[in-house]
Subunit: 481 residues, 2 copies
């Protein structure tokens, strides 16, 4: 037993204190540990493997859509940030600076990248000459750093892992097509891989990325009713092209600025999937990114142990050959202890095999999501486990969608919104006149911010919830991580 575990006796129930439930769960399940550097965590093997599985799924989608990976420097010269005005204002307060290296003071301070638009813009200016070089479709898997005041494991850490796509195009139409394509990749991934229903839409001007023309996002609802921005895709127009002089000779032999995009998701997705699916027994992992999809637990008295273990090992080999991430736990602890342990760790399917099952040629599958116990033929074990994994995914998605629907309403006034937040928590759809002032007032009076302007709102509102003027948009508001 690790020292970390000693300090976590029980998982605090979600209703009692959601934040404590979250920390208890991720610590006890050994997904992460706090590090000695403020705001930085260690991703332990079970946490990091979720990220590896996320990477594998996303990377395949990026490559299918024509992107290739590359790697750019961690350090960004201070002067680069000065070139795009909004960008520097947005990121400057969060930058860590390297001022000394190799025993000497540096002539120009180097920032640790918070995102790489500037460095990549500089390189694209060297690489791109003619329309024949376009589009440039590059993604980077990397660590980035933002010196955050308040941190929370996975959701907001000083250093985090992410991917950042950066593309350059001949014209606005092509760049906007890319922006929307990657937003759709994120939506499809969130729903089909993480089993997280998301609201797809456009950020309001005050919430967009520093330096973007338009920012789009997918937003998910956690089980405490708060929002997590799970992915963003930006149309950057020619802002960075002008700042870094990324020009190309077009088909009419004229110099033009490229239009660029960027898009990213990060390890905060791990935090999101935990807060969307977890319950009072601990983690509930989406089968497609669960490091362990099934655990086999042999049961019964010592005298039948050898026989049971032999058959367990055979079935284990069969499942493994079929590509299912599975292990056998034949340690000395009691079956009951093990059941709790793997439930806490969120393993989608438990497989129990005892002496009577041996006689009958069956095993018992238990779903982490529904708790259902299912006796199935050993001969069909691969397809039965696959079936339960698929069912679990579907159940998790539906449960999350139902929860979100139950915690989402439409409101006509700030008062109505406030009482909804007090009674029920969640998101509200509301009309918004489009002014920064009204948006700010919502935040001040409710703590909620505009999440996005959804492409497909359930209702359309006609008046601003603050000032009552005609609504320019129907917006999703919610408190957020």
């Amino acid at each position: 037993m690790s020292k970390d575990k000693q300090f976590v006796k029980e998982i605090t129930p979600q209703q009692e204190d959601f934040s404590r439930w979250y920390i208890d769960t991720i610590t006890k399940a050994e997904l992460m540990s706090y590090s000695p550097v403020r705001g930085c965590v260690v991703l332990r093997p079970d946490g990091y493997e979720i990220w590896e599985l996320i990477q594998r799924e996303l990377d395949a989608r990026f490559k299918e859509t024509g992107h290739r990976n590359a790697y750019f420097p961690l350090f960004i010269p201070e002067s680069f940030f000065q070139k795009e005005k909004e960008h520097v204002e947005g990121f400057n307060p969060e930058l860590p600076w390297v001022t000394e290296a190799g025993g000497e003071k540096l002539e120009e301070r180097l920032a640790i990248r918070p995102t790489s638009e500037t460095m990549i813009g500089h390189m694209y200016a060297n690489w791109i000459q003619s329309y024949r070089d376009l589009p440039v479709l590059i993604n980077q898997w990397a660590n980035v750093v933002r010196w955050e005041k308040r941190t929370l494991p996975f959701l907001r850490t000083t250093e985090f892992l992410w991917q950042e796509g950066h593309t350059a195009h001949e014209d606005e139409a092509d760049a906007r097509r890319e922006t929307m394509q990657m937003l759709e990749v994120y939506r499809e991934f969130a729903e089909n891989v993480l089993a997280i229903p998301v609201i797809v839409g456009q950020k309001t001007p005050s919430e967009k990325f520093a330096g973007a023309v338009d920012t789009y996002s997918i937003e998910a609802m956690m089980r405490d009713g708060k929002a997590v921005q799970a992915g963003t895709s930006h149309y950057l127009g020619t802002n960075f092209a002008q700042a870094f002089n990324i020009q190309y000779l077009d088909r009419e032999n004229k110099q033009q600025y490229v239009h660029t995009t960027s898009w990213g998701v990060s390890t905060r997705l791990i935090g999101a999937l935990i807060m969307v699916h977890g319950d009072d027994r601990g983690l509930v992992l989406p089968p497609k990114v669960a490091p362990l999809q099934a655990v086999m637990i042999p049961i019964g008295p010592p005298k039948t142990r050898e026989q049971v273990l032999k058959r367990t090992d055979e079935l284990f080999a069969e499942l493994k050959r079929a590509g299912i991430r599975v292990k056998v736990d034949d340690r000395d602890q009691s079956p009951g202890w093990k059941f709790n342990e793997y439930e806490m760790r969120g393993v989608p399917v438990r497989i129990e095999l005892g002496p009577r099952d041996l006689d009958n040629g069956v095993v018992v599958l238990v779903s982490r999501v529904s708790g259902e116990k299912r006796t199935v033929e050993q001969a069909n074990i691969v397809e039965e486990v696959r079936k339960m994994l698929e069912e679990n995914h579907k159940l998790m998605y539906e449960r999350a969608l139902k929860f979100r629907d139950e915690h989402m309403t439409d409101v006509d006034s700030l008062d109505e919104f406030r009482s909804f937040l007090e009674e029920k928590r969640g998101f509200a759809l509301a009309g918004w006149c489009g002014s920064d002032a009204c948006e700010r007032q919502v935040k001040e009076e409710t703590g909620a911010t505009s999440r996005n302007i959804p492409f497909e709102p359930k209702v359309r509102k006609s008046a601003c919830l603050v000032c009552g003027a005609p609504a320019a948009h129907t917006v999703v508001f919610g408190r957020s991580y």
Copy 2:
């Protein structure tokens, strides 16, 4: 055409200037670009994809041997370096320091990690309590930074990508078994994946890792006769366990220090494989890590173009389905121009298809390694391409081994070594008494350093090449990158 390419007209022949050949080749083949940060390069898609393929191969081997990946912070508090005396002396001169962040001066400076023994040691002290927690077998894929005075793309850059394995064990025997196991993983990988023959052995005390008890390495010979240390595996004893207080309760209920190991390879492997295999026409990529394994070039007059392209596309689909990394180049440039282009880029197999081949049901395969042209049945294209890829790997390995054998000798004196280096370049096997002074004198008078004490030297020498005293070891000496 990119701006970078404009500046590279021809590749300098290796004999004329090997360093220029190297830079010409990696620039023209678009593996990398210089970045605006001193000593940092950008890994462009064709360079980064080699790294991705290296990662995939190594990662599978790490997991097969029971390791899991994790991720630790980029930042290391200054006080951590003070805890292991040799370690701080070895790395302090190369550290970049973050002194300001989030608009404030930091109380304690943070180093950017040059390697993670200290941070990981600190975490292991928290995680490990009992012998039941051992062994801990963790690997990290990460960026690290060392502020180098002289840099060379891939081989020595300020920031580079690598993997670092860090394991903790109950006793010396188990830790030493791990150290040697990972060294063997590196040897097998270098030879079977990169087609690079390596000399496996132990580093002399002056060349070992700062903080290690023993360091082992694989050493490769470049085509200019110089050495590249391609991978290292360290037995760290209880040095870091004592520095970070990593103790466990053993089977007799007594507190013991763990024994740790670390082992790593980096993006310098990309530099090594280029310098081992490349020739005057450019890159020659080992088939297993070539981003493109085969390129299809349709040839013949415009009137047969459509027909040829149609068949090319069918064969392309077949190769792709078989998992071969292949593309069709149907651009307007002449076949001759394309042949040169893909030879320069090191693509292992060229597939030519013209109207006459269409009639005969054949295609022509051309090997990048031997230049051999082989007319094969279209019906057998997958197995014929696979065969040529395998043959290429074998030829490359044999050619590199032959080159190394021709550039390796044994010497009895410093004079003999000096004249060998002048006439022929390469490695020398020599006796060494074991004193630092003699080792230093070799370096001062020849520019060569001890590469390692090979496990299987071709000859065993009886006297020290410097002082003539009885040899404690037979050592490989060579100039190195």
